[in-house]
């Protein structure tokens, strides 16, 4: 009755900054092994990096998985919304677990500190947005600890250099997606999301401020819950810290969060991008643990 601790095989679609950073995080994980790192062009620096680490690479995009479907159980999609819409039907048919890091958002919204267990049943989960990952666990607590939440507002400041052309042209989508997520997870009546790009050099880390309008704020239960929650978040995002609050200031609850990235492939100040990757890894590792649990149970049954 020996259970073999085996790493779950995964593939990464998308060899840009995000995909390459994911690869380096997976290399550190005992539960995951990257069996295929897929891009569109052998020219890509990400593929070169992967190759130098001995990870199998391909420039065939989704065809690489179609040609070798047994190579992986989990697929991270770090391409684009448009490409994910093409990839998903294929991966669905192949029965792969998909973690969507694009803005496509066809699957369930995944906030590891909040709904990891529920996501285990889903074949496709998405990582929402950077502001979402940073604030939603705490916003969830607001919903849980406060009698009534009238209004939630989050303001995220990110370093200009961490916002590439794709971010800049999709600010409206970021706002809309994050606002829906806030309303869904907190039960608040109204939500507002603000995004600010800060060009200061040296680059600032991602900072998110959460404001909540609550008729009768109960700070103590919130403070305790936040402490526990932050500890949980830090288990997968080590650079996450509360820098202020929760306090009541000017008739509103205020919490300020700062996220510094790990600096695996993305620069450290890109905490906004790093937190999404960390969350994606946390989800994948949970799938992996689930797989092992299932395998163990099967072994026990057959013993």
């Amino acid at each position: 009755m020996i259970s073999h601790q085996k790493a779950t095989p995964v593939a990464i679609l998308g060899s840009g900054l995000i995909g390459t950073d994911l690869l380096l995080k997976i290399q550190r994980s005992e539960l995951l092994e990257c069996k295929l790192f897929i891009g569109r062009s052998l020219n890509s620096p990400g593929l070169a990096k992967a190759s130098s680490l001995g990870v199998p690479i391909s420039d065939k995009s989704i065809d690489a998985i179609l040609e070798n479907p047994d190579c992986c159980e989990i697929v991270f999609d770090a391409t684009s919304a448009r490409d994910h819409l093409r990839h998903w039907p294929v991966l669905k048919r192949l029965g792969k677990r998909v973690i969507d890091l694009t803005p496509a958002k066809v699957g369930k919204m995944c906030i590891p500190a909040v709904n990891l267990a529920e996501c285990l049943d889903e074949q496709n989960v998405n990582m929402v947005t950077c502001g979402g990952q940073a604030s939603l666990p705490l916003i969830y607590l607001l919903g849980k600890t406060q009698e009534q939440v009238e209004y939630i507002e989050i303001v995220s400041s990110i370093a200009s250099r961490s916002a590439g052309p794709a971010t800049r042209i999709n600010i409206d989508e970021y706002i809309e997606t994050t606002e829906s997520a806030i309303l869904a997870i907190s039960g608040a009546q109204r939500a507002k999301v603000i995004l600010i790009l800060n060009p200061a050099i040296p680059c600032i880390d991602m900072q998110t401020t959460i404001f909540a309008k609550v008729p009768e704020p109960r700070i103590e239960p919130l403070r305790l819950a936040v402490e526990t929650m932050v500890a949980r978040i830090r288990s997968y995002v080590p650079g996450y810290q509360i820098i202020l609050g929760p306090i009541v200031e000017g008739g509103r609850i205020v919490i300020m969060v700062k996220v510094q990235g790990r600096g695996d492939y993305l620069p450290k100040y890109a905490g906004n991008l790093d937190i999404i990757n960390c969350a994606a890894i946390a989800m994948a590792e949970e799938y992996a643990r689930e797989s092992l649990r299932v395998a163990e149970r099967l072994e026990l049954d057959h013993a």
């Binding site: 569109r40 062009s41 052998l42 020219n43 420039d59 052309p165 800049r168 042209i169």
Partner: protein, 350 residues
């Protein structure tokens, strides 16, 4: 797309090509490849090929290579469904191989959309410079290759004074290369130099065309060029807003003329040469607005000087097309009035 619209496009091509199409006979039964083939240029060349195949039994097989191959069917459904047109999904930045049967290549990859040049100059440069290198590299291994026509831009001449127009192929000035404002023009210049390098070192049969400004069906009106803005304003019922006093001068060649010119240059242009492609007939933006307004039964009004423009220099950007005329006997067939009328008719029907 209705039959009458398709017929109109066929007629345009017939008019541009003229009765005597002997000069294009080398293309009979040939494989033509267009990179960036689903843009305005590629679509018009495809339209001209359709005409040559349908009305003159040319039997050309056309391949359009583009990262937006799927968008072609919405832009030109009547062409996308043709058996002689094949769509190839690919980005020149990632190119290792070109379809091995390609005999004639028009390299049109690289968006002239200046918004992209400013928002994503890195990708713009990669597509134009590295992309051209990748295409020429792959082309140098094509066994049946006849010729490559690389599309450049009339912007390569750099900043010019009013009195220097029309611009001949030799009037180069320079951009400040530390300033990304000149990035598109510099990338096109570098791409021409890449072509010269491949010609020199590998004897690759490549020549260039420097494109100016064009008008016609298949143009996406959201591109913020004056003529598109005028058309959009007019289609909305006006008023047509003209910045300043509208004295800037431009010229516009019609899409079917462009397509004919490119195929003729591809076949008969001198290897290693660069030809201006465009209309030498200039028109002020103010007069252009009037001509567009006249195409509408309920003529939209024209608002000049909606913002003060004192001190804003007027510019002229016109090609001297003597070289194309001398070497290939090329002329402008569709005049501006016809071009505008046809374009307005097409957009009104959309």
């Amino acid at each position: 797309m209705s039959t009458s619209v398709i017929d109109a496009l066929q007629n345009d091509c017939a008019g541009s090509a003229g009765a005597d199409i002997r000069d294009l006979l080398p293309l009979r039964g040939a494989h033509i490849l267009i990179t960036g083939g689903t843009g305005f240029v590629g679509t018009w060349v495809a339209q001209m090929v359709a005409y040559l195949n349908d009305c003159h039994q040319f039997g050309i097989k056309l391949t359009l290579l583009s990262p937006h191959a799927s968008e072609f069917s919405s832009r030109a459904p009547h062409l996308a469904c043709r058996a002689d047109v094949r769509l190839f999904d690919g980005d020149v930045r990632n190119l290792a191989d070109l379809p091995q049967e390609s005999e004639w290549v028009i390299h049109a990859a690289g968006s002239p959309d200046s918004r992209i040049h400013f928002s994503n100059p890195v990708r713009t440069m990669e597509t134009i410079v590295s992309g051209t290198q990748a295409v020429l590299n792959a082309a140098s291994r094509l066994t049946p290759l006849q010729r490559i026509l690389s599309l450049s831009s009339g912007l390569v001449y750099g900043p010019q004074r009013w009195e220097d127009a029309p611009l001949s192929e030799k009037v180069f000035s320079g951009f400040d290369c530390a300033n990304p404002a000149g990035l598109y023009a510099e990338s096109k210049r570098a791409a021409e130099m890449v072509a010269a390098a491949y010609r020199s070192q590998f004897g690759l049969p490549v020549l260039s065309a420097r494109l100016f400004a064009f008008i016609g069906p298949f143009q996406l009106l959201d591109r913020p060029w004056a003529i598109n803005n005028f058309l959009r304003d007019a289609l909305r019922g006006g008023p047509i807003r003209v910045q300043g006093n509208g004295e800037t001068v431009r010229s516009y060649m019609y899409g079917s003329d462009l397509a004919y010119w490119l195929l003729r240059l591809l076949v008969s242009g001198k290897i290693g040469a660069a030809y201006n492609v465009g209309s030498p007939v200039g028109i002020s933006l103010k007069d252009l607005a009037v001509k567009i307004a006249e195409c509408f039964p309920r003529r939209p009004s024209i608002d000049l000087n909606t913002l003060p423009a004192a001190g804003i220099p007027r510019t002229q950007w016109l090609p001297d097309i003597t070289m194309a005329r001398t070497d290939c006997d090329l002329r402008v067939q569709t005049n501006l009035d016809q071009a505008i009328t046809r374009t307005v008719a097409w957009h009104t029907r959309q």
